[in-house]
């Protein structure tokens, strides 16, 4: 077999050394750094993109949180406004009711006073009329003229007796 012919060994070993050395130089100086550069650049880009995606997601979450917080605040505020409006209305209703009630009370009292005065006046007139009537009846029946004040006293006594 030609493999065991030592005469070809020097040439084989010489060219093996030359070719292997050249290949090693080409690989270590040119090919491998070039590939490694592309691979690391790609890795860097992928990592970058992933980082940015994570950052954007965080920002989106923050925005959602802020929005929800604002919403909650607005809701609380709206609630407060509604409550104070309710209270204002209630207060207004209360004061108005009170005012009206007071005015009504004054008017009612005035009316009552007027009624009382009219009744008193009427009562006094009734007494005078009764006294006049009694004076007239006595002078007609008995023919005696009775003094006006006496007749009034007698009417007062009669009214008193009858209650």
């Amino acid at each position: 077999m030609p493999q065991f012919d030592p005469s070809s060994f020097p040439s084989q070993l010489f060219w093996l050394a030359v070719c292997f050395a050249v290949l090693y130089a080409l690989m270590s100086r040119v090919a491998l750094p070039r590939i490694a550069e592309v691979l690391t650049e790609r890795q860097r880009r992928v990592d970058n993109d992933r980082d940015r995606a994570a950052q954007l997601r965080n920002e989106a979450e923050a925005a959602i949180q802020a929005y929800e917080r604002a919403l909650a605040e607005a809701r609380i505020q709206a609630h407060g406004i509604a409550k104070s409006a309710d209270e204002d209305i209630a207060r207004l209703v209360h004061t108005r009711t009170k005012e009206v009630a007071e005015r009504l009370a004054v008017q009612v009292k005035g009316g009552e006073d007027r009624i009382a005065a009219a009744r008193d006046a009427a009562l006094t007139q009734v007494r005078d009329i009764a006294a006049d009537a009694a004076q007239a009846m006595v002078s007609r029946l008995v023919g005696v003229s009775v003094d006006g004040s006496k007749a009034l006293d007698a009417v007062g006594v009669a009214i008193q007796e009858r209650g």
């Binding site: 030609p2 493999q3 070809s8 084989q12 060219w15 093996l16 491998l32 590939i35 691979l39």
Partner: protein
């Protein structure tokens, strides 16, 4: 018809004498140069675009790179990175030697014991130097496993020593024998196609096709085995076992 071993003959293309030694540029040397050129074209021109999104050739170049890089990382660890260019060169040189040898009229320089032996010895001597450089005389602990009873030393040490010293032989003979036998088998089978009566020739033809496919597989596999064993030896020297 040519003998099955004719394909392994080395003949000078450009006769060169250097100091009385014959270093002629031979068919073997031609294919070594072709391997270097092919590696350069494949890896450097293939990466020409340096695209972020690789094309076919760039993908293949990157896959080759990562394949060897992972092999070194998995078998040697982080400290193997220093020797990655050497391991990668070894892988490319052996792979292309095997593959170029499968081409018609090709010559398989890896089917020569002188070449595989020189590569294996380079790995062996290199690894031994790295081992002693890193661990000093402590590297000799390699030959006596931790925890073994001291009484077993007279048996264990010679066994470990022999297994260590036989590494370059097994490494070189494995590659050389696989390549040589594969090519002889193909030649013999292909010879049958023309020597047997016409129609029966289909049988060795089918076998030849099958074996050719198998040989392509073996070309990659043996390059892989050569490289990964080199990695394992390197790991022994760097991390001890």
């Amino acid at each position: 018809m040519a003998s099955p071993v004719h394909q392994f003959e080395i003949h000078p293309l450009i006769p060169i004498q250097m100091g009385g030694v014959d270093v002629s540029f031979t068919n073997s040397a031609l294919f070594m140069v072709l391997a270097v050129v092919a590696s350069y074209v494949f890896l450097v021109l293939g990466m020409g675009g340096r695209s972020l999104v690789p094309g076919r050739w760039q993908s293949l170049a990157e896959v080759t790179y990562e394949f060897v890089a992972n092999m070194v990382r998995d078998n040697v660890g982080k400290e193997g990175a220093r020797y990655f260019p050497f391991i990668f060169t070894l892988f490319m040189f052996v792979t292309l030697g095997n593959i170029l040898g499968m081409m018609p009229y090709g010559f398989t320089y890896t089917s020569h014991i002188a070449v595989t032996g020189a590569l294996a010895l380079t790995v062996f001597i290199g690894v031994t130097i790295i081992g002693f450089a890193r661990h000093g005389l402590h590297f000799l602990r390699m030959f006596f496993p931790h925890g073994a009873p001291i009484l077993t030393a007279p048996i264990l040490i010679p066994i470990e020593l022999i297994s260590y010293l036989s590494r370059p032989f097994s490494l070189s003979v494995r590659l050389f024998a696989n390549m040589t036998v594969g090519h002889i088998m193909l030649k013999v089978l292909a010879g049958f196609i023309v020597t047997v009566p016409l129609l029966l020739g289909i049988v060795p033809l089918a076998a030849t096709i099958g074996i050719t496919i198998l040989e392509f597989g073996i070309a990659f596999l043996q390059a892989y085995v050569f490289t990964i064993l080199s990695c394992i030896y390197l790991n022994d020297a760097i991390n001890m076992h």
